[in-house]
Symmetry: C2
Subunit: 299 residues, 2 copies
DNA sequence: TATATCACATCAAATAATTTGATGGGATTG
DNA sequence: CAATCCCATCAAATTATTTGATGTGATATA
């Protein structure tokens, strides 16, 4: 009957809708009116489908266009296809209250102590069914994002690299923390005195240079730590009753009982941020997650 | 980012294939090569999809084009969609040996006696799993086809009307059948003698005028039946030992034991055909069914 | 830190597909 | 038989897609 106008594969969604409409109305002309196109456009579309499916699809039987068996079968599948496409074309919706998704947050000690508890509590409040995992960012949290080991990264990881987005939460500064019985406790520290202290140095596993150290080195000084530890964990008990002094982020030090804060001459500063990858940028779940983090942690 | 080039709905199968390919290869350029099109064609297609799904779909992350969450989800559905379309686009295949379909054949007494047994036996031989139903064609078998009460119609129903197809099986003629003890048994019948016989007339429910009657009336004669019956069923016992004579299709009369055949001066003729509707024309099952019928019954 | 390279976006021109409006033929209705 | 209805088909007009050239941003190389 009909010659092949196109080889195949150029069937579009609209064509399938037309097929459905023609079937429903039993008429090309009626379908054309409903679609607000010319009758011959419908004729053309059906001709295309006929060639694609290698079947007449509709045949005239006593005034009505009746679907062939094959057409009925095709329509059954096409209906499912259109349904699937409809579903998937809907902009993604996310209802925290109903969600059973899982989110993974990468961060390090500082954030785990100071931010995670508040964040997790808020996440659980809004989304009781949500599964939350917190992983160690360790060396390079960015890699974990790229490897999809985490959805977001919280930390001082401002990297404006292609493929990453970030949002600043707040700025943090350093201060010295020591036992209340320390000779210098509560006394102002000038550069000389600061450098002569018995420093407990936190090297954070070596992958992070604290801002105060940068500042100190920029001023031409070198810090000679008495003890170096990899993380602030258990720091309070190391400092208690000792003559050691640790320079660390103010908010972190303040969580440790039994220590006093001394402003220090090199206090540096760094920004805490949420970082995520471009591929999560548009996702409704992750947009919500980031919003919760920002709301919970800023200021 | 991208402005809406098309409102929506103009997504074709090729575009979805492109989406899949880009995802698989992680590169527009590579996909373009594989599809044997220009890179900017892929770019254009993805832009169209981006606008349709309202999502970037692919974002650059460290040199690689990475799929967004949404894209992964879409792809999952799209894969199923393409699979479905692939299946449905395959020209329908039909293996009688495996088939569990059902076919319905409409016909009347003549065909049920002479043809159905052979047809059914052949159908069962080729397709043991096939369900076969035989229904009475009665008045107008064509209506049963249109109402989808039967898949094919076998009988003398040659109607070359729109929406119907048919294939001739063979031509049938009439003869007289009577008891072997009948005075005229075995003797030639001229018009006068034929008309004076005690006719047992089969009226087939009134919806069918036998060809010999047409011939007879065309010659200006009128048949005055002694008895009229609606169907040839049980005819043999009605004729046996009586002086009745029935004019009926030769092949049908020959199936009846204890009757002798006399050629009659009005023998008319009619064609036995398979008839079906246009909407079944392309179906593999029905093509096969019709083929079996034709092979079994012709000659 | 500059420079080459790679990959995608974008633009205008060329090409291909679709839609339109007109017309014709087959089938149904009165 | 005439009037209609409905789909197929054709050429022209309109749109969409593809191409080839070029731009831009990011990565890799020197």
């Amino acid at each position: 009957m009909s010659q092949t106008p196109s080889p195949s594969g150029r069937i579009d969604i609209a064509a399938l809708e037309t097929l459905r409409l023609v079937h429903a109305l039993g008429s090309f002309t009626a379908a054309a009116e409903k679609l607000d196109v010319n009758q011959s456009a419908v004729s053309y579309t059906i001709a295309k489908l006929r060639s694609y499916f290698q079947d007449p699809l509709f045949v005239r039987e006593g005034g009505q266009q009746v679907a062939t068996e094959r057409c009925e079968h095709i329509l059954q599948q096409v209906t499912e296809i259109l349904q699937k496409l409809d579903d998937v074309a809907q902009p993604e919706k996310f209802d925290p209250a109903q969600s059973r998704s899982k989110v993974t947050i990468a961060c390090n000690y500082y954030e785990r102590i100071l931010m995670i508890p508040k964040i997790v509590s808020e996440l659980r409040r809004q989304a009781p069914g949500l599964e939350v995992e917190v992983v160690n960012a360790l060396g390079d949290g960015h890699l974990r994002l790229l490897r999809r080991e985490a959805d977001v990264l919280i930390g001082p990881f401002a990297r404006s690299q292609s493929g990453f987005h970030s949002r600043r939460l707040y700025t943090e500064h350093y201060a010295c923390f020591m036992d209340p019985g320390h000779p210098m406790a509560g006394r102002a520290l000038d550069v000389e005195r600061y450098l002569q202290l018995n420093h407990l140095y936190i090297n954070y596993g070596g992958s992070w240079k604290s801002a105060y150290v940068t500042e100190l080195e920029a001023a031409g000084h070198t810090l000679r730590p008495t003890i170096a530890v990899p993380s602030p964990a258990g720091l309070a008990s190391l400092l208690s009753g000792s003559n050691l002094v640790a320079t660390m982020p103010i908010r972190l030090g303040k969580t440790m009982d039994g220590l006093v804060l001394n402003p220090c001459p090199f206090q540096g500063h760094f920004d805490l941020s949420v970082v995520w990858t471009a591929h999560k940028n548009a996702s409704a779940v992750h947009r919500w997650l980031r919003e919760v983090i920002v709301e919970t942690c800023r200021g």
